[in-house]
Amino acid sequence: MVELSYRPLSKLALASRSSGARAEAPVHLWELPRRTMVTLRLDPRDTGLVERAETALGLALPRQPNTLTTDAKDGFVLWTSPDEFMIDLPADPAAHGGAAAEAAAASGAAASGAAARIEALSGALAADFASVVEVSDQMAGIGLGGSHWREVWSKVSALDLHESQFAPGACAQTLAAKSNVLLYAPDLRGDGVGQIRLYTRRSFSQYLFLRLEDAAQEYGLTLQAY
């Protein structure tokens, strides 16, 4: 039997290769859980429109290029273009059924409300020149951390993530090896320790994951499924 929800990295069987111990590892590489992701397009110069969107979503839109806003509950809005934002929320446990949802339901976890927020957003902008498109399935997330994550990053991307250039409030889109990525680092500390979240298009994620895994080998790495 196939699992009901088949994630882009399922093929890599990370669960069976998972080795935990993320904190001490020189490099830690893991699959991010499914998130509710939405491409929002609107003209941010229309302040009324922006206000409606922010109210409905319960999150401000970032005003500066390549920055993000957060609701401090692991919800984010990332600037991706002057008239485009990526909304990135923890997925509702029940959104896609399957074992995870059942487990969540059993444990009584409350819905994070992502679906409701997106619905509210769509509704609020229905009459406007704006576009709200869900892309949760299109995106795949990879986490990269550990004391040597910068060395690994330096092998795949020409973008400088030195702490002077890239801080926790920043996000960026660039190329990592041959894959486009959207990345941010919500918990990056001032000293640069921490981890980054990388999102790719689904079909690129296996390639990128394996490429990162290969790059990390010489430093020693641990893997984890979400």
Binding site: R41, K155, S157, Y207
Partner: protein, 1041 residues
């Protein structure tokens, strides 16, 4: 005796760790810290190679990267694994356990080389001789002569086993990159680092120190080694600094993109490197500023037979003595034209070597730049070393090793011999003709050179503002140590200033300033160093008793065997531009790229041409600075990571069920699913029949999908497609054709109206990214008034395409709530529904011409949907089919595939698709091009069906058609034959019960019914008849069914 020429003590080698290695099969000993060259010299071995053209015996002449002669072949990993590398310079190859080395370009052996007969015939092989002879037919040239020439040429042998070493690459970023860790670079690094700026110091050598390694003077009251170690420790403690040794800065590209090669494991003993540690790393460093502190090369003097083994650069003799504790010989003659180089003679004298000096300067200071003979010459006199001032070298003597030198006094002008010649015997000869600042990187950055007449060398001119760098120290012609240290500090300050790191800069660079205070770093000073005044006298060619063309040769470029006579010959034949001379003589084109020869050549040419050296100019300095391993540059990408293999949400199912895959752009698409014993033909035929007779399932997830949203969405589609879109009703779908502005077909696909202001557009798999960019381009640049947003959703949806007469029956089982009836769910419309419990959107569109439903579900659910369809479909005999069957099925219906049936030179009319051109629309992309003159040419190539007269024959795709009149009965036509067109698609069709084909034929639309011939490579001439490109269900009933 082993290591007879090793000094009893001294040098930066570890005498506690002897290492043995082999050279040409013979085992030798050296120490950790040695290079192959220093260890060979310690064992008295000078003869290490043969030259490129004449196979002259050649010895070690330098102690660095500029070495032209001592090229060796080494084992890289363990010998048993057979991984060897050719053409390594012995002077920079570090000794390690288990190293086996060989000379290159000698057969059968170094001391007896058959190729050396070329030496005897040298007179017949002047520069460019091959252009003047072998003027034979191309057949003879390629068949007979070229192989001989090829075998003779080339240095080392390429190991033909796959290179199993691991290579890796990195991107780095720095505020300031400092190249060279000599005194200048170290001082610069220290100054730059103190500011807190991000600094990278790059040094090609295994040790920092540069010239201090051969001239250990006192700095800041410490000996040089201690000073270097102190700075290294200081830098190591700073988090903003990275020191990279064994790393060669190989190139500077636009906007200061620097490349550097780091040698990580070659010097390690077997087993020492980590399993995944790469052999080399390739660094691309983006620098805001660059400080070049790359030092200077010594240059040789040009005299007859100056290429004999045992003739070395004075600085090299000094380096071998000081750094490696190795004497170049027991009796040395030092032939110099400047004072600086004589420090080598002093050290040699102290080391117990019997030293004689031949100084082309006459001691009077006349003809020399600078004052008097200089401190080193004075010291030598005080030491009682014999000095032959004002003497020239007539010739060096010896066969496989220098044994003496013939010298004579010369006139004051340095043009003629004017006294008795005498012979000095020696076992090595050290020369110095001055120094050439290493300006390679400066020039690579796009900046120019100035000529400094005092030191007779090129020095950096103004930096290129687009790719800025600052040169300091010896590489800028500053040869005194104290001056160089100051220069390093100043260069670093200037670089800091330039990036806004200066004390007075408000625009602070985005750097964490906390690390270090702003206190300026101290500038070190030395006591007892040379004052840096070369006091040089240039004689580009030492006067001799015979002209350069007769008798022995005056070597300029050792590796490529270019002599002074060759340069003169080139000029005689009117190769006057330095670029022509380079190419005619091959000067500077060898693996050392003329590092030691180019300036001497310019000096000689300036005499011959009667113009100054700067008027002649240099040839172009190009990357890399030293030869750079391909594998390192390629990094991890060859192999699995060469390109992304994009896979669909159902890919794992296809793989588990035996599918073979076809590459479509970056995608892997299921091609066909052979069952045991089936070949491609059988499998595809089975898959096709299943679709026509029952039901088949195709993974169509790869098609591009774009949400087009906004009040002007319909107007936008109207402009980007050839046909009309304004009136398409919500819930309906339409096929669209997209052209480039040249009027040629670019892409196609079905778009559906999701709402009044929202469409879902589909594109071809390979065209998806390009189409999105194309559309964004028009929205952002041309039609900025259109209110439309585009969002790619290609991968949001998994698409399972259910095709065949039983498709509805099957789907109905899984989606009980939806009305799937022909009336309720019309062809070319869509509806939302729940399929197997999954929220889906179903499109009634068909690329097979059969009843079809394209079911879209969120990608995470694709696998579940696929499995559900397969399970429920088993009773209908559901058959997964791949792209090959899909191609056959669409061909049966005459549907085109953009990129297969079109090739960028075909418009909609050519494809018989005039019906889809809304010619009465105001405008659409490509419209204007459709009315150009040649578009109306009735003889344009047009799309037609092609049927073989024999229905069993399947034409090969790509086959060409000719007129029946041009094809003889049963033979390949006599070329050239006018071609009428070609076969673009061709298959066996079970549904049609015969082969079918389509293609592009001149004036084809008007030639239906005509008989043409397809001549095949195997000699068959296949008769065909042109017709309509449709072979099945010509009325199109099935898809509506």
């Amino acid at each position: 005796m082993s290591q007879k020429f090793r000094q009893p003590e001294g040098g930066r080698i570890d005498r506690g760790e002897p290492l043995s290695f082999t050279f040409d099969g013979q085992t030798y000993e050296g120490y950790r810290g040695d290079t192959v060259a220093s260890a060979l010299l310690a064992n008295g071995v000078h003869l290490v190679g043969r030259s490129f053209k004449y196979h002259r015996p050649r010895g070690i002449v330098t102690a660095g990267v500029e070495e032209p002669n001592a090229l060796i072949d080494c084992n890289v990993t363990e010998a048993e694994r057979g991984t060897r590398e050719a053409n390594n310079r012995a002077t920079v190859t570090e000794l390690r356990q288990g190293l086996t080395t060989k000379s290159v370009n000698a057969f059968p052996s170094l001391s007896f080389d058959l190729g050396a007969v070329n030496t005897l015939l040298a007179r017949f092989f002047p520069a460019g001789f091959y252009y003047k002879t072998f003027l034979v037919s191309t057949r003879l040239w390629h068949g007979l002569i070229e192989p001989v020439i090829r075998r003779a040429a080339g240095l080392g042998v390429s190991d033909e086993s796959p290179d199993i070493s691991r290579y890796d690459s990195h991107y780095q970023h720095a505020d300031i990159v400092i190249v060279g860790a000599g005194p200048t670079g170290l001082q610069a690094a220290r100054t730059a680092a103190q500011s807190g700026a991000r600094v990278i110091l790059v040094e090609q050598d295994s040790l920092c120190g540069g010239s201090l390694l051969r001239d250990p003077v006192t700095i800041d009251g410490k000996d040089a080694d201690a000073w270097v170690a102190g700075i290294e420790a200081e830098l190591a403690a700073m988090p903003n600094v990275r020191v990279m040794t064994r790393t060669t800065l190989s190139g500077i590209f636009d906007h200061n993109m620097l490349t550097a090669l780091e040698r990580v494991t070659d010097h390690l003993d077997p087993g020492q490197a980590g399993l995944h540690t790469p052999r080399m790393r390739w660094h691309r460093i983006r620098a805001r500023q660059v400080v070049l502190a790359t030092g200077a090369f010594e240059r040789p003097l040009v005299f007859r037979n100056n290429d004999l083994p045992g003739i070395m650069f004075a600085g090299a003799v000094e380096t071998y003595l000081q750094r490696y504790g190795v004497r170049a010989g027991e009796r040395g003659v030092f032939v110099v034209n400047n004072d600086m180089a004589l420090s080598a003679a002093i050290k040699a004298h102290h080391a117990g070597i019997d030293v004689t000096v031949v100084d082309v300067r006459d001691g009077s200071g006349s003809g020399e730049r600078g004052q008097g003979e200089g401190p080193n010459a004075r010291s030598l006199r005080d030491l009682g070393v014999p000095i032959h001032a004002g003497h020239t070298v007539i010739a060096a003597r010896g066969a496989r090793r220098v044994s003496g030198v013939e010298i004579a006094p010369m006139n004051r002008e340095g043009t003629l011999i004017n006294g008795e010649a005498r012979v000095l015997t020696c076992d090595f000869l050290a020369t110095s003709g001055g120094y050439n600042p290493i300006v390679h990187l400066h020039c690579q950055s796009g900046a120019k050179l100035d000529f400094d007449a005092d030191t007779a060398c090129f020095v950096p001119g103004p930096s290129n503002p687009t790719t800025p760098s600052i040169s300091a120290g010896a590489c800028r012609g500053v040869f005194g140590l104290n001056q160089a240290l100051n220069d390093g500090a100043e260069a670093a300050s200037a670089a800091l200033q330039a990036i806004g790191h200066g004390a007075d800069s408000a625009a602070a660079a985005p750097v964490a300033k906390s690390a270090v205070g702003a206190a300026a770093a101290p500038v070190s000073q030395s006591t007892g160093a040379h004052d840096g005044d070369l006091r040089i006298r240039h004689l580009w060619l030492l006067p001799s008793d015979k002209p350069t063309s007769k008798g022995g040769k005056f070597w300029v470029d050792f590796q490529n065997d270019v002599t002074a006579a060759d340069l003169e010959l080139a000029v005689r034949e009117n190769f006057r531009s330095v670029e022509h001379i380079k190419r005619y003589t091959t000067l500077g084109m060898a693996t050392d790229q003329g590092k030691t020869s180019n300036i001497n050549a310019l000096g000689i040419l300036s005499d011959v041409l009667g113009v100054t050296i700067p008027e002649i100019g240099t040839t172009t300095f190009r990357p890399p600075y030293t030869p750079t391993t391909f594998g390192a540059i390629a990094g991890r990408e060859p192999g699995d990571f060469l390109d992304v293999a994009r896979v669909t949400p159902m890919h794992d199912w296809h793989e588990a069920n035996g599918a073979l895959f076809e590459d479509v752009g970056q995608w892997k698409r299921a091609w066909y699913y052979p069952r045991p014993g089936e070949d491609m033909h059988a499998a595809v035929d089975r898959e096709c029949r299943a679709v026509r007779e029952g039901v088949g399932l195709l993974d169509a997830s790869t098609l591009g999908k774009i949400i087009v949203k906004g009040p002007d969405a319909a107007e936008f589609l109207n402009r980007v497609y050839t046909n009309k879109w304004m009136k398409l009703a919500v819930g309906r779908c339409r096929y669209g054709l997209m052209l480039g502005e040249d009027g040629m077909i670019m892409d196609d696909g079905v778009s559906s109206r999701l709402g009044e202001d929202e469409f879902l557009m589909t594109t071809t798999t390979g065209g998806a990214a390009g189409v999105l960019t194309h559309l964004e381009d028009y929205l952002q640049t041309e039609w900025t008034d259109l209110r439309v947003y585009l969002t790619s959703v290609t991968e949001q949806w998994a698409v399972a395409s259910l095709n065949g007469p039983r498709a509805r029956d099957l789907l109905a089982e899984l989606c009980p709530d939806a009305d799937l009836s022909a009336e309720g769910f019309k062809f070319m419309s869509w509806q939302d529904a729940t399929v197997a419990g999954i929220k889906a959107r179903i499109f009634r569109i068909s690329f097979t011409g059969d009843l079809a439903f394209e079911i879209n579900v969120p990608a995470d659910q694709g696998m579940a949907l696929w499995s559900a369809l397969m399970n429920a479909g088993s009773k209908y005999g559901i058959t997964p089919y791949g792209t090959e069957a899909m191609h056959v099925l669409r061909a049966e219906k005459g549907f085109i595939i953009v990129g297969q049936d079109t090739d960028g030179s075909l418009n909609p009319y050519d494809m018989g698709m005039g019906w889809i051109v809304g010619a009465d629309k105001d405008d659409f992309i490509g419209k204007r091009s459709l009315t150009r003159k040649d578009m109306a040419d009735p003889l344009r190539k047009q799309f037609v069906g092609i049927l073989t007269e024999d229905p069993a024959v399947v034409l090969p795709e790509g086959a060409q058609l000719v007129s029946a009149a041009d094809a003889p009965a049963q033979a390949f036509p006599k070329a050239p034959v006018p071609m009428q067109g070609h076969v673009s698609s061709s298959y066996w069709s079970s549904a049609a019960g015969r082969s079918i084909a389509m293609g592009i034929v001149k004036g084809g639309l008007a030639r239906k019914g005509e008989r043409l011939i397809v001549p095949l490579e195997d000699g068959r001439n296949v008769p065909v008849v042109l017709g309509d490109p449709i072979f099945f269900d010509t009325q199109g009933e099935r898809q509506h069914g």
